[in-house]
Each structure stands twice: as structure tokens, then as C-alpha cells.
């Protein structure tokens, strides 16, 4: 096959065009980018302050540094940081965004919207709320960082240090709840630990992007059970025994009669007995689990209903039963008066190494 002159010219034009138009000279190599892992947001009056935890990699080891800057919007702050940094700040790998409690109480809407709009921040970035001031938390993260500053990420990461009492909430879930009629979220609260780096003691209830209350760790576990997040490995302490949840399944049904919403929930648990105090029978253990979990669930729901915050997203099950006008009023008209029948059905799959009385 002979290559004609026309073909050669075409080839040259394509090659030159590709080289000239690709824009590949704007590409920055990975070692010329700063990859913040954690971002902290706090608010002082009307100005925001942003802290970035940036791993600083060298061939032998990785240090961690904290960069902070204040300004009137988060975008402006990031711009300022980028201007002053020797590398390009690249938020692609941002894993966790921590809000100070005061920010959450004033409202997260503005910042969450700007995160969602920013193209380089992943929508699945995790959120957390710092109970105290941000600076001590970040100092703790820096001082206890042994590897590359990913402790905070590992804390929430399912295949690393996550435990079932910790809620995982992504930034898109917060964004979704801000405009939804029937769904609110909880965001885990954290603080620097005494011996560990981080301590989590529950979660904040967020209604329309504003923090209205808190739930504790045990309630966070129930929240996770209700959401269907795998809770295997959880140890449940009672008066007579300690059990480990091996598998869980939730069935629910909803009913709306004469403006009265009713929800039936049935939680099926498979458990392994780890430890007993005294000599309880299987039936006693089953009953105790049912009573304890149901009572805890009811109390969590009462508290949420009082705040009109539908953290479990129960309103979702009534969407096909209510008109759009009524849905708008779900939080005020139906949810606070909703009745829920919650039963826990327990199967003791394994008695462990113990002999138990029938």
C-alpha cells in the first residue's frame, strides 16, 4: 500500500492538531498537587474559616500540615489558599468535611451547596460535626498522625476503623435532605479523644440543614439498623447477657387512615451469645433484646418527632399516600403524631461456647 501525499498531509494535520489542541501543558503531576484529606469549616460572625489537613509526602515519610484561611465564602477561602500554596490545591481526594457545631446550628445550607457545586469535591465526601472547636481536633490529628494523615478517613471507612455505632453521612445526603419534604439526616459528632485520636459519641440531628438535636451512640446503632447499613460485629450489652448481631433485616409497612400515619416495623436479628450474667434462658434473652431495643427506638423517635426532624426518612413510605400539598406539611402535620409499632424478632443462632438453659 502506497501512502499518498494527501494522506501524509492529513496525517500531519491531525498530529499537529492533536498536539496543539490537547491542552496537556495545563496538566499538573501528582507531586505538584496538594491533596487535602480533611477540611474543617468554622464560622466567626459572618466570616468563614477553613482548615485543610494536607499530607505532605516525601520519599521516606509523610508529614501532615494544617493550612487555614478566613474569608466571606468558602470558594474565596480556597482561592486564597491556592494562591499562597506552592502546589495546586486539589480537593479531589477530600474525604471528610468537618463542621464546627456552631456552623451546624446556624445552618449548613450555604456551605453544602457550595461543596455540591464545586466540581472537584466528590459528592460522596463524608461529613462530621465537631463538638468543640476545630483547632484542638486538627492539632490532635496532626500530632497523632503516624502515617499519612488518613486517620480521620480510616475512622469512617467501612473496611478500616468504622464501627456500627458511627453514622456515615455523605455530603449529597445532607444536600438531599435540605430540600426534601420527607427526609432528614444525622451527622456524626466527633471530638478529639483522650487516648485515641478521635472519639465519637453520637450524631447530630439535622433538619433542613440546621442542627436541632443530638442522638447518642446506641441510637446511632439503631439508626444504622433502620437504614440497613451492615451492623455485624456489634456487641449489645444488657442486664443478663452480651450478644453479637450477626445479621439483621428490617421489614416495614405504612398506613394512613384519616390523617393518622401508622408505621409497622419489624426488625429481624440473628445474634450470637457472647457472655451471660447469671443463668438467663434463651427466651429471657430474646425478650430482653426486644424490650430494650424497642424502648430505645421509641425514645429516639419521640425525641425526633418533638423536633419535627424525620431522621429515619419514614416520610418516604408515605409519599404515595399523600398529595404533594400534604407532603409539604409532612413534618408539621403528620410526622409528630405518627404512631409506630416496633417489634424485634430475635433468633439466637449460636449459643457460643456456653450451655444455656432451655
Amino acid at each position: 500500500m502506497r501512502i499518498s501525499a494527501r494522506r501524509l498531509v492529513l496525517f500531519a494535520v491531525v498530529l499537529a492538531g492533536t498536539l496543539a489542541l490537547s491542552g496537556c501543558w495545563d496538566i499538573k503531576d501528582i507531586n505538584h498537587r496538594s491533596l487535602p484529606v480533611v477540611m474543617g469549616v468554622k464560622q466567626i460572625d459572618d466570616t468563614y474559616k477553613v482548615l485543610l489537613l494536607i499530607p505532605d509526602a516525601t520519599p521516606s515519610r509523610t508529614d501532615v500540615k494544617i493550612i487555614s484561611q478566613s474569608g466571606s465564602t468558602i470558594d474565596e477561602i480556597l482561592d486564597k489558599i491556592d494562591r499562597n500554596m506552592e502546589n495546586k490545591v486539589d480537593l479531589l481526594h477530600l474525604k471528610v468535611i468537618i463542621f464546627e457545631r456552631s456552623v451546624a446550628e446556624k445552618g449548613l445550607s450555604q456551605s453544602v451547596e457550595s461543596f455540591m457545586r464545586a466540581r472537584d469535591i466528590s459528592n460522596k465526601t463524608l461529613t462530621a460535626i465537631s463538638v468543640g472547636a476545630l483547632e484542638p481536633l486538627f492539632d490532635k490529628l496532626t500530632s497523632s498522625s503516624t502515617s499519612d494523615g488518613t486517620e480521620m478517613y480510616d475512622f469512617f471507612e467501612k473496611n478500616a476503623g468504622w464501627s456500627p455505632e458511627v453514622v456515615q453521612t455523605r455530603i449529597w445526603e445532607v444536600f438531599r435532605s435540605m430540600d426534601s419534604f420527607t427526609r432528614d439526616v444525622v451527622i456524626p459528632t466527633i471530638q478529639p479523644g483522650l487516648s485515641t485520636t478521635i472519639e465519637s459519641n453520637g450524631a447530630a440531628v439535622i433538619k433542613n440543614g440546621r442542627m436541632v438535636g443530638v442522638i447518642d451512640s446506641d441510637e446511632s446503632l439503631l439508626y444504622n439498623l433502620f437504614k440497613g447499613t451492615g451492623t455485624q460485629g456489634k456487641i449489645e450489652v444488657m442486664n443478663h447477657a452480651t450478644v453479637k448481631i450477626v445479621a439483621d433485616r428490617l421489614t416495614r409497612s405504612s398506613e394512613l387512615k384519616e390523617g393518622q400515619a401508622t408505621m409497622k416495623g419489624r426488625l429481624h436479628l440473628k445474634v450470637t451469645v457472647l457472655e451471660t450474667v447469671g443463668a438467663p434462658t434463651e427466651a429471657e434473652i430474646k425478650q430482653e433484646i426486644d424490650e430494650q431495643l424497642s424502648a430505645r427506638f421509641q425514645s429516639m423517635l419521640r425525641a425526633a418527632q418533638a423536633k419535627e426532624a424525620d431522621i429515619l426518612g419514614i416520610g418516604q413510605y408515605f409519599r404515595d399516600k399523600l398529595s404533594r400539598e400534604n407532603l409539604r406539611q409532612w413534618r408539621t402535620k403528620y410526622y409528630p403524631f405518627m404512631k409506630i409499632e416496633f417489634k424485634v424478632h430475635v433468633i439466637i443462632q449460636d449459643e457460643g461456647l456456653l450451655k444455656m438453659k432451655r
Binding site: 496538566i27 501528582i30 507531586n31
Partner: protein
């Protein structure tokens, strides 16, 4: 033309030509031939025996049915020279009016059967083709003792006559393929075929093709396997390998030798080769794409460790990769030319240079060395050196596209490569076709 006079004048120009006068069956004759090709004493012994036999049967030496040789009737100069160049001997009478062409006892100018030099065999016959055409044909016949085997021989070229043999299995080969090949060969071209590029031109294959249209193999059993599965095999004199037509993608992954292993192991070998091709072609491009364009695809831990290893490297990822690839290609190329005694030294020096010093000098990152070493090793999992070299080029296309467009560029490159190999065909048989004997294509 007076033959003895012509031979004498030729002898003045070509000292290799001998003109030996002797008596055969009471007649004084000249024996002519090339010293380098003919074992003279042995040939004279043989001739005397033949002449005695002829005399005993009452036949004259130069008779057609004397059994000594083929009479040549008033041969032209070219005919005489062709006969001599082919290694035959000539006997002509003193007067030069009669002439015989006969096959003498030749010198052994080929090596003995040896094991293959570029294709290792773990299980299976290990004798390989050598330079002698007849030996090669014989080897194939030994491996394929079948009455369906057909052999056609041709002599190609004008100034160099290259003997070429086409083998196929009657009833197995697809008729259209056979016709295309035979038609080409029977045009008996005037162009010489000193190398495979010339052969490729002669068959009308594109000159700038990345993929050779014939698969080469040193192993008789591979050739026999191809024949049995309806492919055509071409043997050229002085080429120690068989050319199998058409070439297919599966030639890269499937070897007849695999069938000497249990089926599961055979399939895992083939899977491994496919993986090897993917690793070889994709890995350098993927590295550049992930390091410079799309680092968000990496997990944070590995992103940080790569960033750490690249700290202080002065060049962008593309230049860094190209630099090290160049050194690797140089190593590969020089390894072919190195005398075997120096080989290990160069391997050691190359290993130290590539493995340690380059990283310590901060010219490249050590992750890149891992990537390129893996890619180079993976390159040679495919069957056939010619396939491995074709793959080596493909990765540069992906590399450049990845450097410009990241992961997207990598995929565009894969599409381009797939489109290219999709259009390749040999005598109408698509390169991507799944070959089965007797099946129709196109």
C-alpha cells in the same frame, strides 16, 4: 555455443568452478561443477559406478536412458549457469556436443537438527527447522504423516533463485485462500525475495502494517498443527522457520504445545497470556494517566505514596516514562546482539542502573520502575517474537494519548487499536476471526 570453451572462460572468472577431465565407460569427458557445493572424490566414485552400470546394460553414456543423468540438448549459457548454481554437476563430451546434468554427492552445508532458538518448548518435540528446505519439508512430513498433505514447489526471483515450498492439507484448507496464494505464487515474479519484507511486498500486503500477515514458527509441530487446521504453510530455502498463512489474533495466545498440558492448565496459560498483553499495553499509559491527569481515580494511600516517590523528579510523567522506556528498549535490543559471554554482565549492570541508581539520582520514581518492569516482563508472555515486537509499539500510542487526555485517552487508544486490528485481514481472512477448519469466512 561450445560448452568446454564456455566453461573454461567461466573458470577464469570463477575459481570455484572445477573442470575435471576423466574417462567414463571408455569415453573422455569433462566433469564440471562448484567445488564448494560438490564433494568431488565421492561424486567420481558414484559416477564410475553409474557408468559401469550403463555399460553393463549396453547403453551409451549420453543416452537418455543410460541412468547417469538428464541429457541437456544444446543448452543456453543461462541454463548451464543455473544448473551449476543449483549445485548440480555437468558431464560433457570432449567435443562439447553432448551434455548431461546430474545430481552429485553434495557437501553438507546445513547445521544438524537443533532445538529452537527463539521458541522454547517445555513439553513436546524440540527439534526445530533449520536452513535446509528439504529437511524442513521432511520434518513436517514426519509430524503430519497423512496422505492429504500436498506440496507445491516454486522458484522465485530472477538473479537469486529462491526455492519456495507451499504446503497444505487437501480438503482441510479453504479453497479461496489456497487459490489466492497459488495465484500469487504462480506469477513467478522477477523480483528477488531476499527477506520477508520482499515476500510481503510480493504478496501485496501493506508495507506499513504493524501486524505481520503471516505467523512464523520454528517448530515443525506448530506448522503441522496449522496445516491440519486448514492453514497454508510456506517454507523458503535458507529460512529456518515456517510461514503460516493467515495470521490470526489467536496466534498470540494459542500454541499447540499447550495441548500437552491438562485442559485447565492450558486455559490458565492462555488467560495469563491475554493478561500479559493487557498489562504490557495498558500499564505505562495507565501510570501516566493516573499520575498526571486523573489522580482522583487512585486511592488516597497510593496517591500519597506515588506523590512521595515522585518528589524531586524533574520531568513530567510522560517524559519520565519515555526516558525509562527508551533505556528498556535499548537493553532489549542490545541483548539480542550481545555475545553470550558478556550477556550476564550487561544484565547485571542494566539491573543496577535501572533498579537503583536511577531512583537514587531522582530521575524517575521507583513506582515507575515497578510498572515498566512488569510491563516488559508481560510483553514476552505472548507467543512469537514478531507478536511481542508489534505489541511494543502499541503501548506508545496509548502512552501519548493518556498523557494528553488521561483515562479517557487510554480508552480512546484502546478503541483505535481495536479498530486497527479489526481491519487487518490476510487474503480475506480477518485477523480477529476465530479459526476452525472447514469453516467459511468473509
Amino acid at each position: 555455443m561450445k560448452l568446454p570453451a564456455f566453461l573454461e572462460s567461466r573458470q577464469a572468472k570463477d575459481s570455484d568452478l572445477f573442470l575435471h577431465s576423466l574417462f567414463l565407460a571408455g569415453e573422455s569427458v569433462y566433469l564440471a561443477g562448484y567445488t564448494s557445493l560438490i564433494d568431488l572424490p565421492q561424486s567420481i566414485v558414484m559416477l564410475r559406478q553409474l557408468a559401469l552400470n550403463a555399460a553393463g546394460a549396453g547403453k551409451a553414456l549420453f543416452d537418455r536412458d543410460s541412468g547417469v543423468g538428464t541429457p541437456m540438448r544444446e543448452p543456453s549459457e543461462q541454463e548451464v549457469l543455473d544448473a551449476l548454481a543449483a549445485g548440480d554437476a555437468l558431464i560433457c563430451s570432449q567435443s562439447g556436443d553432448r551434455c548431461l546434468r546430474l545430481i552429485p554427492v553434495g557437501r553438507t552445508l546445513s547445521r544438524a537438527l537443533e532445538s529452537p532458538t527463539t521458541e522454547n518448548v517445555l513439553r513436546g518435540a524440540i527439534s526445530a527447522f533449520n536452513e535446509d528446505l528439504d529437511t524442513n519439508v521432511g520434518l513436517i512430513k514426519k509430524h503430519l504423516p497423512s496422505d492429504t498433505l500436498r506440496i507445491r514447489s516454486y522458484s522465485l526471483g530472477q538473479s537469486q533463485r529462491r526455492k519456495t515450498v507451499l504446503l497444505y492439507a487437501e480438503g482441510k484448507i479453504r479453497e479461496q485462500l489456497l487459490q489466492s496464494i497459488v495465484q500469487k505464487l504462480e506469477t513467478l515474479p522477477d523480483v528477488d525475495i531476499p527477506d520477508l519484507q520482499a515476500l510481503s511486498d510480493f504478496f501485496g500486503f501493506p508495507k506499513w502494517a504493524l501486524i505481520t500477515r503471516y505467523n512464523t514458527s520454528e517448530l515443525p509441530q506448530e506448522a503441522a498443527f496449522a496445516l491440519e487446521h486448514g492453514k497454508a504453510v510456506l517454507l523458503l530455502d535458507r529460512f529456518p522457520f515456517a510461514l503460516v498463512l493467515p495470521s490470526l489474533l489467536s496466534d498470540m495466545f494459542v500454541s499447540q504445545n499447550d495441548r500437552n498440558f491438562p485442559a485447565i492448565i492450558m486455559f490458565s496459560f492462555r488467560l495469563l497470556r491475554v493478561l500479559g498483553v493487557l498489562v504490557n499495553v495498558l500499564l505505562p499509559g495507565l501510570y501516566v494517566a493516573l499520575v498526571s491527569v486523573n489522580p482522583e481515580v487512585l486511592r488516597i494511600e497510593i496517591a500519597l505514596s506515588i506523590a512521595g516517590s515522585r518528589e524531586g523528579v524533574p520531568y513530567p510523567a510522560l517524559v519520565e516514562t519515555l526516558l525509562l522506556l527508551l533505556i528498556l528498549e535499548l537493553t532489549l535490543e542490545s541483548a539480542i546482539r550481545l555475545p553470550t559471554t558478556i550477556g550476564p554482565t550487561i544484565t547485571m549492570v542494566g539491573g543496577i542502573i535501572l533498579g537503583q541508581a536511577v531512583v537514587q539520582a531522582k530521575l524517575v520514581s521507583n513506582v515507575l520502575i515497578i510498572i515498566l518492569a512488569a510491563s516488559t516482563i508481560a510483553n514476552f508472555t505472548v507467543i512469537g517474537f514478531q507478536n511481542a515486537t508489534a505489541l511494543r509499539l502499541g503501548k506508545y500510542l496509548l502512552l501519548v494519548l493518556s498523557a494528553m487526555f488521561g483515562v479517557l485517552g487510554l480508552f480512546v487508544g484502546i478503541v483505535v487499536i481495536c479498530a486497527y486490528i479489526g481491519h487487518v485481514n490476510t487474503f480475506g481472512v480477518p485477523y480477529l476471526s476465530r479459526w476452525k477448519a472447514g469453516r467459511r469466512y468473509g
